[in-house]
């Protein structure tokens, strides 16, 4: 900042415009800066037809002085004349002309409460910043232009002009009636940009209750305002509006969305706690409740485990250091984590898997799968044994199998696909046979297809191993046709082809054909 200032100072003092001193009070300083800026940029755009900004005000006197003096004399005055093209050099008229706003709608005058970063503000900002209308020296303009700049455009014309990106002042729409007509016109034009412009104007000039009431019967405009508020992050105004409209579920979701912006977990937890009571739909309420409970648990687990890890006493953590913190992870990931690090803990502990399962009503299938994956990764084969013999509740009997077998089959399939990844990564080929044993309780024919297919996928060597162990030469009996047999055979066929395994292909193909 100081450097900028020094530069400017240097420039300023070397220029002929010495009307200013830089010891003015703060509020004037910004204006002066702007005028300097205007001077700076003047030489670049002086031959530009579109931007009359500097040409207008530049009559040998610094721009700022005009606005400054006007501030003194004309404060509080309003004018509908701002934002006109004021090509002064073209002629003369008895009209007071204004510097053109850099923005084509004179909307900068509609916005309040912007950040004050003087060094980046433009002239138009500075002028409107002070809330003062500013005037360029009075000059006359031709009659033809006069018509174009006349202020009595109907709402329709105003909207049309705005659609074409032309300058328009909305300030002259004073009565509620006028404003609403203007809004309706904007909505009828379907140009969101114009609708937003009008809404910003209304938002600034109408009392909330009136604005809300009128918008309630104007759904399109309402949607635009909601979108605008959401994008600009005017959360409070938005919630007020939604509450007024009695759109309670939206209020709730909108408020819940806020948690994404909170980085600090403690604060996020507190925030989510506050969300629980919000009027969500019945189904969503339980999810939000779960979300809060989950984060609460995660904070406890994280604190505990970080301590364990840094202390270095737990062998598990030393052997398998944590890759990332568990905070903000999904439920299933948390379950995996707890199966991995806290499997044997008593149910009373927050970090124990069974506790998680109970608290969040995790379905059996999900639980067994996740636990299997975690325990197998640790090569805790005893746990895997136990898990595979757990009774799993299943939705319905499938494909003529009893639910129990079907689930096992399903688990086998999923288990294999998990396992394959680790197999490749760890290159622990000897484990292959070990895992194959788990499929012993399955009926031979199912096992053949499910297991064999999976085995081929994982490792060619495993296939032969597997074929030795199990008698796969038995023809598949007819009951298990749909799905398991045919599906797997088809799969097998493709896989074998892909692997180019001619021998196995023939063997397996032979069996298939027999069945």
């Amino acid at each position: 900042m100081s450097r900028v200032r020094a530069d400017e100072e240097e420039y300023w003092h070397s220029s002929k415009f010495r009307a200013f001193t830089f010891d003015d009070e703060d509020d004037e300083l910004s204006q002066l800066k702007e005028s300097k800026r205007a001077v700076n940029s003047l030489r670049d755009i002086v031959d530009d037809d579109d931007d009359d900004l500097e040409r207008v005000s530049w009559s040998g006197e610094p721009v700022g002085s005009i606005s400054w003096s006007i501030k003194e004399t004309a404060s509080g005055s309003t004018s509908s004349l701002d934002g006109r093209d004021s090509s002064l050099q073209k002629g003369s008229s008895s009209y007071a002309a204004l510097p053109k706003q850099a923005s084509s709608y004179s909307l900068s005058s509609l916005f309040k409460g912007r950040n004050k970063l003087p060094s980046f503000q433009s002239l138009s900002d500075a002028l409107t910043d002070t809330g003062v209308k500013s005037y360029a020296p009075e000059l006359r303009r031709p009659k033809a232009e006069y018509k174009d700049y006349s202020s009595d455009w109907s709402p329709k014309d105003t909207v049309r002009r705005m659609q074409r990106g032309k300058v328009c002042s909305l300030e002259r729409f004073r009565s509620l009636q006028d404003k609403l007509v203007l809004l309706d016109e904007a909505v009828a034009g379907h140009d969101g940009n114009v609708i937003t412009a009008v809404l910003i104007f209304l938002k600034r000039t109408l009392r909330r209750e009136i604005l809300f009431r009128e918008l309630e019967v104007r759904q399109v405009a309402l949607c635009h305002l909601i979108h605008f508020l959401r994008e600009m992050g005017e959360q409070k105004f938005l919630l007020d509006l939604l509450r007024f409209l009695d759109r309670t579920e939206e209020v709730a979701l909108s408020q819940y969305r806020e948690h994404l912006n909170i980085q600090d977990v403690e604060k996020r937890r507190e925030f989510l706690k506050g969300c629980i009571g919000l009027p969500f739909s019945a189904e969503d309420t339980s999810h939000i409740q779960d979300h809060y409970t989950l984060l609460e648990r995660q904070i406890i687990i994280e604190a505990n485990d970080r301590h364990l890890e840094t202390a270095g006493q737990s062998e598990l953590f030393r052997k398998y250091p944590r890759k990332a913190s568990i905070l903000n992870m999904p439920l299933v990931t948390t379950l995996f984590y707890s199966c991995f690090y806290h499997y044997t803990e008593a149910e009373g502990m927050f970090s124990s898997p069974t506790n998680l399962k109970k608290t969040f009503k995790i379905p059996d299938k999900q639980y067994v799968l996740t636990a299997l994956a975690a325990r197998a990764k640790l090569r805790a084969w005893g746990d895997v044994d136990a898990l595979l013999t757990t009774k799993v509740s299943c939705r319905e009997p499938c494909w003529g199998h009893s639910p129990k077998y079907w689930c096992l089959l399903l688990i086998a399939g999923l288990f294999w696909s998990y396992w394959t990844d680790w197999f490749y990564s760890s290159k622990a080929q000897h484990l292959c046979c070990r895992v194959l044993q788990y499929f012993a309780p399955l009926p031979a024919q199912d096992l053949c297809w499910a297991g064999l297919a999976a085995a081929i996928r994982s490792e060619k060597g495993a296939v032969s191993e597997f074929c030795y162990q199990r008698d796969c030469s038995q023809p598949v009996p007819s009951p298990c046709t749909k799905g398991s047999a045919v599906g797997c055979v088809w799969w097998l066929w493709i896989t074998l082809l892909a692997l180019g395994e001619k021998t196995h292909f023939l063997v397996a193909g032979g069996i298939v054909l027999l069945s």
Binding site: K116, N261, H287, A498
Partner: protein
């Protein structure tokens, strides 16, 4: 002058030459690259994310440098107040000396394809009720009419279609001078809402171009492919330095081979490629037969063309190999099987095992959402119990915050509980013949080849409009959302077309909310049908596939980086 572009392919070559643009950069956060220029122009879509990048650029600009650089901003296609307000809040609005718009409504992508490339059009129309993109569509259509004549007939289906037609009529009334004396090129305009046919984009496209888009994503006619298959095979190098940069290829009809295979079902591409290979090698063999100098000269003159054909063939063979790796995978097959079951109406009313398994294995969330939405659409909404089950599984596995995304999908009508307990889809499917069992992928006789059995609903509507007319399907049209309508625009008598016998009618189909490559392929297929009698030109707000579409509806979960 230096121009900074947001993603998009605005052709600035002309601008560059006329105004001595020094350099062009793509927009990215951080300090602007040094360039000894006075003016810097940002060409951007009016999007808040991009505004943040620009803010960053501007704030990091070295104020002390001399000469100071001036900033200008050009919004494409329209200035956005929201963006300007945003820039103002960041305190940089004043840094821009010019803020203007570059009204680029419809961008030509190919000889028969125009797109507005407005990604968020669907989201804006159906989630936020913001019809600005429709306004632009109407403006684009007005421009098109100014260039190619007034379109005498307008048909439409859906709320957005109705809005666009209304706006067009209004614009015409407001600018009476727009009545032009150009002989009309288009006979009919068909406006279609994407939400009339939510099903089609969710299914996996099975045409060559569609699959490239599904797997690698086509961006503004360019695709980036993994480089391994494109490594130049030279002896002695032994694959030492494999290229690591993705291979970038442009895909459009200017490439003869691509024009031929792009719209074919992928299963029919292989045979075309091998046939081409034979022809090309035969052509190269010709050189042995060239005896006289004249013959050799003729051969040499053909060489450039032959070499271009050969490299094009090599490229597409490599792409086809890449795609084949995916389409022959087990998972692709399973996924497709489930999709096809849903589309043919099998087991749409219960929890699907495959979807459950995918969730359990944590497949990408978008894949899950595509399938669940597909099931919901094919069942006119899911039973509450089934919907709750899916929701729970998704939230538990992928995180509770996705409740916001699920909510958006519900609002867009993609994922919803069945109301009234009635499933209209079977009626619609049967009446419009959306599912064809005997599909011929090699020599198709029906548009259903683009999805290997499923005929895209949107294109079926276009087909039935041409013949025998929508009157025959009134009942079904009533089941689909939104009104259907017909408008006529009067032409001066001199401009009314007297149709020659056998001359094709030209229909412009405008997809409001996006169109897939497979749908385009289906329309091109209809154009080429010998007895079709109608040629189609396609316009849309955005080229989409299921993944990009669902993504546009998902809640942004990461907070902005600034």
């Amino acid at each position: 002058m230096a121009a900074h572009l947001s993603s998009g392919r605005v052709n600035l070559t002309a601008l560059r030459e006329e105004h001595e643009v020094e350099k062009m950069f793509t927009l990215k956060p951080g300090r602007l690259p040094p360039a000894d220029v006075k003016n810097i122009i940002f060409f951007v879509r009016p999007k808040l994310e991009l505004m943040d990048i620009i803010t960053d650029n501007v704030l990091r600009e070295d104020r002390g440098r001399s000469p100071q650089r001036d900033f200008h901003i050009l919004f494409v296609p329209r200035r956005s107040l929201l963006c300007e307000q945003w820039l103002k809040e960041q305190g940089v609005l004043g840094s821009f000396i010019h803020r203007e718009q570059y009204s680029l409504d419809l961008i030509p992508f190919d000889g028969d394809l125009l797109s507005m490339e407005s990604e968020s059009a669907f989201k804006e129309c159906y989630l936020e009720s913001d019809q600005t993109s429709l306004y632009h569509a109407a403006k684009g259509l007005m421009t098109l009419q100014a260039l190619y004549g007034t379109i005498p007939q307008i048909f439409g289906k859906g709320d957005c279609a109705r809005h666009v037609a209304n706006m067009m009529i209004r614009m015409k009334r407001e600018f009476p001078g727009s009545q032009n004396s150009i002989f009309p090129v288009f006979d009919t305009l068909l406006l279609l809402d994407r939400n009339v046919d939510l099903l089609t984009p969710l299914a996996t496209q099975l045409t060559y171009e569609g699959l490239i888009d599904e797997i690698y994503g086509i961006q503004n006619t360019y695709v980036k492919l993994p480089p391994e298959k494109f490594a130049p095979k030279k002896q002695g190098e032994g694959g030492k330095d494999l290229p690591t940069e993705p291979k970038k290829l442009q895909l459009n009809s200017a490439e003869e081979l691509y024009a031929e295979i792009r719209d074919k079902n992928f299963n029919a591409v292989g045979s075309v490629l091998s046939k081409k290979a034979k022809i090309i090698s035969a052509a190269f063999e010709e050189r042995h037969h060239a005896k006289t100098v004249g013959e050799i000269k003729q051969f040499v003159s053909q060489l450039p063309h032959m070499q271009a054909a050969r490299s094009s063939l090599a490229n597409h063979t490599s792409i086809a190999e890449l795609i084949k790796d995916i389409t022959t995978s087990e998972d692709f097959f399973d996924n497709l099987t489930v999709e096809q079951e849903f589309m043919s109406g099998i087991d749409t009313d219960k929890v699907n095992n495959y979807i459950e398994d995918c969730i359990a294995q944590k497949h990408p969330l978008i894949k899950i959402l595509r399938l669940v939405c597909l099931q919901s659409v094919c069942n006119s909404g899911l039973k509450q119990k089934v919907l709750d089950h899916y929701k729970r599984e998704i939230l538990q596995t992928y995180g509770y915050e996705h409740i916001l995304t699920l909510n958006n999908l519900e609002k867009a009508g993609l994922l919803k509980p069945q109301t009234g307990g009635r499933n209209n889809y079977p009626t619609i499917r049967k009446t419009l013949r959306l599912w064809m069992d005997d599909v011929n992928e090699q020599n198709p006789n029906d548009i259903s080849y683009v999805y290997s059995g499923y005929a895209p609903l949107s294109v079926r509507l276009a087909q039935l409009l041409a013949r025998p007319g929508w009157r025959s399907i009134e009942e079904v049209l009533k089941m689909l959302p939104g009104p259907h309508f017909e408008e006529r625009q009067q032409l001066p008598t001199g401009l009314q077309k007297k149709r020659q016998h056998g001359e094709n009618r030209v229909t412009l189909v405008f997809f409001l909310g996006g169109v897939t490559y497979a749908e385009i392929a289906a329309l091109r297929f209809l154009s080429q049908m010998e007895d079709g009698g109608t040629e189609y030109i396609i316009a849309t707000t955005k080229l989409i596939n299921g993944t990009t579409w669902i993504k546009s509806l998902m809640e942004k979960l990461e907070p902005a980086p600034f």
